[in-house]
Structure formats: structure tokens, C-alpha cells
Symmetry: C2
Subunit: 108 residues, 2 copies
DNA sequence: TTGACATGATACCAAAAGGTTTCCTATAAG
DNA sequence: CTTATAGGAAACCTTTTGGTATCATGTCAA
């Protein structure tokens, strides 16, 4: 299976931390600067900056520089790597497919 | 948003490790014992057992005991927590695509 | 030009994660 | 009964992770 070429690794790694998932959701709503994000969590700005670095390395966020400010915006397309990996298992828990499968097997 | 109640945490945490994702794929194919899995990786059985413990704690695998053997089988339904979290962003990049599309059309 | 602000960079720390080795127990098989 | 097999459990080690405090730098504004 081509899933063996594990390009989803950085994305799953990034999403493993609850703070980072919360940041992703924040950025889904609007673009934010590091310090904007930091005020919304009970942790220091450098801590948030580290989380952003992990998200960046997974290409989940992009940064545009405007003067002394760096605007972080979400790149939702990067989530596709994870979605694709998970989609491979759809056939297992889809009840309709399971029903169809047993029907087909019975028929055969 | 109800996603704030982060029940997806154990699943994302479990999927963050490439070995564990590989184990999940193995178990999608067939049920296996700990030592069966261990032979397929370049690590010891206790190491694999630890990975299985993480997967169990996310309810991604279930164990049935048969004599001295413990059969691990996948519980694909547990992946739904992660899939649902990611699905929240589907409409987001759908919107983006729509915006892109209209921009392109405007340009033409 | 002189601060104030936004952020990067570095050093450091404790805890968690991923492994290994070793040992113990329970069951199956000869 | 004795031995081999399956796997749990504990002790230990190293690297990574998530976080802090502190300092350096570039830019905007008075």
C-alpha cells in the first residue's frame, strides 16, 4: 500500500498535542500573531512559538511577515495527509458497507 | 464548538507514532498476538507491548484471551474521534476552494 | 533618536516517551 | 512432571518534549 510512504507523519505528530490542535482551531477562525495566540493560553509566548514551529514543520501553518509582525495563517490543505490515512479505514466502520458486504457474500 | 471536549486526544496521541500506525494497519489485515507483531519490527517484544498498551488506552485495539495467548484485534470505530475532528475542517477548505474558484472566474 | 513593542534565539529544566534487559507466571505439550 | 512458549511487569537508560526565563534584534512611533 502506498500509505507506507508515510508523509502523514509530521501532521500526526503535530496534531498529537492538544494545545496545537487548539491553535489550529483558533487559526481556522482568523489569522493571528504569536503573542495573540499566547494570550489565549496559560503558557508563555516562547512555549507557543515552539508549538507554532512544530505546526510549521508539518506545513499546517504559513507565516507572512508585515513589518515587525508575523501573521500566522492556517494551511488546512496540509490536514489532507492525515485525512487520507484515516480514510483508508472507512470501509471498516461504515455500517452500510458492512451490511452491503455481508449481503454480497450471502448472495455469492 | 463541541470539539472543545477533546475526546480525540488519546487517539491522536496514539497515532502520532509511526510504529503504532503501522501496527494499526497490520491489525486491519488480521488479528495478531504480541509476538507476531514483534517479529515484524526491529524492536523487542516489550517495546511492542508498550505500543499496544497505548493503542489499547485509546480503545483502538481490543484483546481477547485464548489460553495463554492474547489476540489483539483492531477496533476501527475508535478512529472516528480523529476523523470527526478533522472533518470539521472539510468545510473550511471547501470555502477556500470556493473563494479560489470565484477569484479565478472573476479573473477570467 | 529614543523608547516601546513583536518576535527570534538560547540555555536550561523536569517529565514523558521509546527502548532494552531481566525476571516471573501461566498454560500447553512431550 | 518437566520443559518450552506466550506474555506481563519492573528496573533502568537515553532522547524528546513541553515549558520557563533571559537576552538580542528589528521595526514602529513620539
Amino acid at each position: 500500500m502506498s500509505l507506507h510512504t508515510d508523509h502523514a507523519q509530521p501532521v500526526f505528530r503535530a496534531l498529537a498535542d492538544p494545545t496545537r490542535r487548539a491553535i489550529v482551531m483558533l487559526l481556522a477562525d482568523r489569522d493571528l500573531r504569536v503573542s495573540d495566540i499566547a494570550t489565549r493560553f496559560e503558557m508563555t509566548r516562547p512555549a507557543v512559538a515552539k508549538h507554532l514551529a512544530v505546526l510549521k514543520s508539518a506545513d499546517l501553518i504559513r507565516v507572512s511577515i508585515a513589518g515587525r509582525e508575523r501573521i500566522n495563517h492556517l494551511n488546512p490543505a496540509a490536514l489532507k495527509a492525515a485525512t487520507d490515512w484515516l480514510a483508508w479505514f472507512d470501509r471498516f466502520w461504515d455500517d452500510r458497507l458492512a451490511a452491503l458486504k455481508s449481503a454480497v457474500e450471502k448472495d455469492a
